[in-house]
Amino acid sequence: MTNDRGSGFETALAEICRRVQGGEPLERCLNDYPSSYHDGLRQLAPLSGRIAAVASDPSPLFRARLEQRLIGAVEARRAGRARGWEGWFAPAPALRASAIALVLFLVLGGSGIGVTYAAEPSLPDSPLYPVKRVRERIELAFARDDQAAAGTLARQAERREEEIERAVEAGKRQGVMDALAREAVATGERWVRRANEAAASGNLLPAMRGREAVRNLIKRVDNKLPTAGPEARTALVRLRGILEEQEGRLTALLRTRREGQAARTPSLSR
């Protein structure tokens, strides 16, 4: 006789499923329950063993990549909330203002051309590096439209690539690599910001070029990772995670805008 109704059967079913999952043979378990339950338990208990097979575990590669990306997103939030990317390694505000004033004087003043030229190959451990940073901001501020801004940002991204390469080859200490990584992230953030502004007015070109630039930076980091020393490696791995996160934001921006455009475009076949 089959009796699979009532809380007694439900409890028995829950128990026997757990026992079968634990490796006990079904037929032996059945002896512990009223015979009126046996048919129902025989039909249902084996199903529980098939359910576990529908799931799988994440691959180690996926786990590692997502972890990197999340670390990048957390770092971006922290830096964005604290002082903005550009202020990441700035000193106290008063000192920073004086430094900017001095650099502006040097850049815009009579001796500016020579200083800015000398600053070009500098790395963050050089006193001339702030000159390069300020000049980049000025270039971007004076870009006349989105296309010009995209060109400026592309040059800046290329500079970051070259700086990373030179720093790794020169075996620079971790502080320098961290500062470089922050500069690369700041460049990426400027891309994302500009891309969002341009996309708001329907221009997707900066987002496309920005994504390309960020991808190139990722490639350059990947190329340098095998030869980087342990200190540089830590900074590069972290940088890679942040760049991937930025690339993801640019991709999402492009996807959203394209879907929006496609939805607004009437179909020719209609």
């Binding site: 084996p46 799931a55 575990d57 909330r81």
Partner: protein
């Protein structure tokens, strides 16, 4: 177990703390999602969405213990999954294999192919349960939670969980019988158990 103060540190944008929280929870979250979608790429994309949403919403999370954290993450996963399935069914151009109606592309040896087909059949049968029934099945058999923990996660008492469990297995049996796959595992399990 989560280390003390981990959630608070993660809320303060400590990347190491968030990474630890992620490492601790990602396998159950991924398994939860992979039980409902066919392609690993879908499960990966959804898992990423869950953690990015968790990062955004962590400041609003109230609760410090592991149980509350998992309940919160599964809630996010459930919402993301619902959005994903809605999008999939709203997209008329989706291919059948994208929409999860066909078995995996590479069948391999015959036995593997049959196993793959059975997995697909069970996954589709799970999709026909009520949400509560499905949650009970997934928590108990995919994630291995006991009755008490399952009850906590679905917000019911253990008697109600036993009832949902029974009804879920009955429905699964009915759906699998109609697709001609109800008896496979009984035979194979008997074989495996030497009965």
């Amino acid at each position: 177990m989560l280390s003390a103060g981990l959630v608070e540190r993660a809320k303060a944008n400590d990347s190491n703390a968030f990474a630890e929280l992620y490492q601790h929870t990602v396998t159950p979250v991924y398994r939860y999602l992979s039980a409902r979608v066919n392609a690993p790429e879908e499960a990966e994309e959804l898992t990423q969405e869950v953690y990015l949403a968790a990062l955004q919403g962590l400041g609003r999370f109230r609760g410090g213990d592991q149980s509350a954290l998992f309940a919160w993450l599964f809630q996010i996963a459930r919402n993301k999954l619902a959005d994903h399935l809605r999008r999939r069914y709203q997209r008329p151009s989706a291919r059948l294999d994208e929409a999860g109606f066909l078995p995996d592309k590479a069948p391999g040896p015959e036995e593997e192919a049959m196993k793959g087909e059975d997995v697909q059949a069970v996954r589709q049968a799970l999709g026909q349960l009520t949400q509560d029934q499905r949650e009970v099945m997934v928590y108990k058999y995919v994630l291995g939670y006991d009755n008490a923990e399952t009850a906590r996660l679905v917000g019911r008492n253990t008697n109600a969980v036993n009832q949902l469990h029974h009804r879920a297995l009955r429905s699964l049996q009915r759906v699998l019988s109609s697709s001609g796959r109800a008896g496979r595992s009984e035979e194979s399990q008997r074989g495996e158990a030497g009965i």
